[in-house]
């Protein structure tokens, strides 16, 4: 016996064209979007790592702004391990609000360990009404292997919910993710400007359907997009020291 409301949701879901469900969401940062062939794929798995020790807060910040960009006004579910809250603090609704995210659309799930967190993420990805599911899993737990990331990818694409694996204090390992970002902190001061806006030094270290690159981006909380950080569009790109510059120069 299926509840009519579910049936309708399923039908509506199946009527949507494949491309629409896996639409690419432009970040707003032109160079990065070029590299991503138009933007980040929704309904896919993306990974956010902290590039080095001490830069975990920036990875957390990048993950949530990234999620805010991908959510499309839908709800956002944040799954975090208990350990993560001790190490990096508890997610603050006021802080999320200041970054332009509506706390009313934010759900927080606390789990004891990584296995539980992954299970919860898998379950949550089956709810097509969510926009984004973020699983924060610090370190390198055994349960998070290639199979686990494949399962998440599959669940994300089936129900067109974007999945973000936030991995502070972890070493990148093989995974089925669509993109992988290594994030570092970046100073936010520009001449005499106001400072303190969310600025990230984000390196696209892996991209299944395109090339890689590294940019310094600023999150504009008012417009809900990423922008190149600096006076001109080029400043951010110039600050990068990526090996494969040729790709995004094209």
């Amino acid at each position: 016996m299926t509840q009519p409301s579910h049936l309708i949701a399923t039908l509506r879901h199946s009527l949507e064209p494949e491309e629409a469900r896996h639409a690419r969401v432009p970040l707003g940062h032109a160079a990065a979007d070029l590299c991503l062939q138009g933007g980040l794929r929704s309904g896919a798995l993306h990974e956010v790592f902290s590039a080095q020790a001490g830069h975990e807060p920036s990875a957390v910040g990048f993950a949530i702004t990234f999620a805010a960009r991908m959510a499309h006004g839908k709800s956002l579910l944040w799954i975090r391990q208990d350990f993560a809250a001790l190490e990096f603090g508890e997610l603050s609704a006021m802080g999320a609000l200041e970054l332009g995210l509506d706390p009313a659309r934010l759900l927080l799930v606390k789990t004891a360990d990584a296995t539980e967190a992954l299970k919860a993420a898998h379950e949550a990805l089956s709810c097509a009404s969510l926009g984004v599911v973020i699983a924060e899993i610090p370190g390198t737990p055994k349960s998070l292997d290639l199979t686990a990331s494949r399962r998440l990818t599959l669940a994300a694409s089936q129900h067109a919910v974007t999945a973000i694996l936030l991995r502070p204090a972890a070493k990148p390992d093989p995974s089925a993710a669509e993109t992988r970002w290594l994030v570092r902190a970046a100073p936010s001061r520009l001449e005499d400007d106001d400072w303190g806006v969310a600025v990230f030094d984000a390196e696209l270290a892996r991209n299944r359907h395109g090339t890689t690159g590294r940019w310094v981006m600023e999150w504009s909380a008012n417009d809900g997009v990423f922008k190149p950080f600096g006076r001109t569009a080029d400043t951010g790109a110039m600050a990068s020291a990526s090996a494969d510059r040729s790709h995004w120069a094209a």
Partner: protein, 483 residues
């Protein structure tokens, strides 16, 4: 064998078994006297708590006959079987079945069935096995001794002195006479027993709003059968709920094992629910999350599903409003996760009316989100300005060692988690006074600074206490970090 307890500083016999009764030992006699009569007497001290616990367990077991079970300490149980007798083939059959099943578990049991609790109680003690047809309580208990009314021993004694031996004889006296002599209380008890008035009994558990149950002729063991029957129960329950346009907010599945052990599993929902598939799914989730799995032992002979709390479901039908359906789907996910992880682990946020950063937002179980009023979320920063509040807050602010140019100025350098950070940018202070009306002990005022170090790490630090006014050696803390 006898059971003893210390009464008035003397060990007295409180209960005797059949053999001891044959040797004319009686409850109430001193243990020393009993020992004098039977030198090899085995005596055990009474354990009232264990007795009580056992009685509760039996009451749990009796839930299989009716959800309305009340305890009548020290040894009695009331079962209100109104409307349940036909399931067992009539009143007499139900009584016999229940007594037999308890006897099989090696309890010595006496039972009776009557229109009022008091009448049934008297009969169970003095004429076990009786089933009284409707309205004939007075006749049925007329021949019982007065002691069956369980009155104050003084009153019972007085009746005996007056030559009244049976309840029938007492009942024949006029009420005025009895009230004048023994008080209102005694007359009320008599009327209860006679079935002229009924004193309500209070059930051990709140009665469910709806219930459905499955009885099995052969106890069931396999997981599949148990799951299927739970699903079909969910469907029956769903039909009942649908008739009244209600949905369940709390459900309980009760598994009665053939050997008398009863297991209860509860689930909550955030939204009035009557979809059988959802109910079944939630129970599957609940069963999977049990730390001690459901053990069928020799099998369950009864499975019952109860809607403990039902609420009006404004629109059980599918809505064409997209937002509405999305909210329902998310509510179902929240229910699933809450069932698995616990409601306290699946949270949503509510704004509070305070300036204290750690109290400005509270987390509430997402299932109860609708019942918690949230204020409007206040944005603190101006348009196109940097965030004023950190993205992550430490539950307990972490102490840091700070070097500042002046005691009341911003930090220049600080050591946090053994790493030295040099401050390149600092803004503040944002002075936040602790709200004196909230706590008894006065907490110092905090001066918050937004700082950025040379790497670009943005932190929220504060000085605890105003320099010079509140403290001479203010301490510093990291409270959170920005994106």
């Amino acid at each position: 064998m006898v059971i003893t307890a210390k009464i008035d500083n003397a060990l007295r016999v409180t209960a005797v078994d059949a053999k001891a009764a044959q040797l004319s030992l009686k409850p109430g006699m001193a243990l020393a006297d009993a020992r004098a009569m039977v030198p090899h007497l085995q005596a055990i001290e009474a354990d009232n708590d264990a007795d009580r616990k056992l009685l509760e367990d039996i009451a749990d077991w009796c839930d299989r006959y009716t959800p309305f079970v009340a305890v009548d300490p020290p040894h009695g149980l009331f079962l209100d079987v109104t409307g349940a007798t036909h399931l067992f083939g009539g009143e007499a059959k139900l009584l016999a079945t229940a007594c037999e099943a308890l006897a099989k578990q090696r309890f010595s049991v006496q039972g009776a069935l009557a229109g009022t609790a008091a009448a049934a109680r008297s009969l169970a003690h003095y004429a076990p096995g009786t089933t009284v047809p409707k309205g004939e309580e007075a006749y049925a208990i007329a021949s019982l001794p007065i002691a069956a009314l369980d009155l104050d021993p003084v009153i019972t004694h007085a009746f005996r002195r007056a030559g009244l031996k049976t309840i029938g004889q007492v009942a024949a006296r006029t009420r005025n006479e009895l009230t004048a002599r023994f008080g209102k209380d005694m007359v009320a008890r008599l009327d209860n027993a006679l079935g002229k008035s009924a004193k309500p009994i209070s059930p051990r558990r709140a009665l469910p709003d709806y219930m459905a149950e499955h009885r099995f002729a052969e106890p069931v063991v396999t997981e599949e059968v148990i799951r299927n029957s739970l699903f079909s129960l969910a469907r029956s329950l769903s039909r009942l709920l649908e008739q009244r346009g209600e949905g369940a907010r709390a459900l309980e599945a009760i598994f009665f094992r053939a050997d008398g052990i009863v297991r209860r599993l509860q689930i909550q929902t955030g939204w009035p629910t009557r979809d059988a598939a959802i109910i079944e799914r939630l129970f599957r989730e609940r069963l999977a999350s049990l730390s001690d799995p459901l053990d069928p032992g020799f099998g369950f002979d009864l499975i019952r599903l109860e809607a403990l709390r039902a609420e009006r479901d404004p629109d059980g039908t599918a809505s064409f409003d997209k937002d509405d359906n999305a909210a329902k789907e998310i509510a179902f996910l929240v229910d699933r996760l809450s069932t698995r992880l616990g409601a306290h682990r699946v949270l949503s946020f509510a704004a509070q009316d305070t300036h204290i950063p750690e109290a400005a937002a509270v987390t509430v179980p997402a299932q109860q989100q609708a019942s918690v009023a949230s204020r409007q979320w206040p944005v603190l920063r101006n348009r196109y300005e940097a965030p004023r509040r950190p993205l992550r807050l430490f539950t307990t602010p972490e102490p840091i060692e700070v070097t500042a140019a002046v005691p009341d100025g911003p930090p220049i350098r600080f050591r946090w988690r053994r790493v030295l950070h040099t401050v390149t940018l600092a803004e503040g202070p944002e002075r936040i006074a602790m709200e004196w009306w909230r706590s008894e002990t006065r907490r110092p005022t905090r001066d918050y600074f937004r700082v950025e170090d040379e790497a670009g790490l943005r932190l929220w630090v504060y000085r605890d206490g105003l320099y010079g006014r509140e403290t001479m050696q203010p301490r510093w803390f990291v409270h959170g970090f920005f994106a």
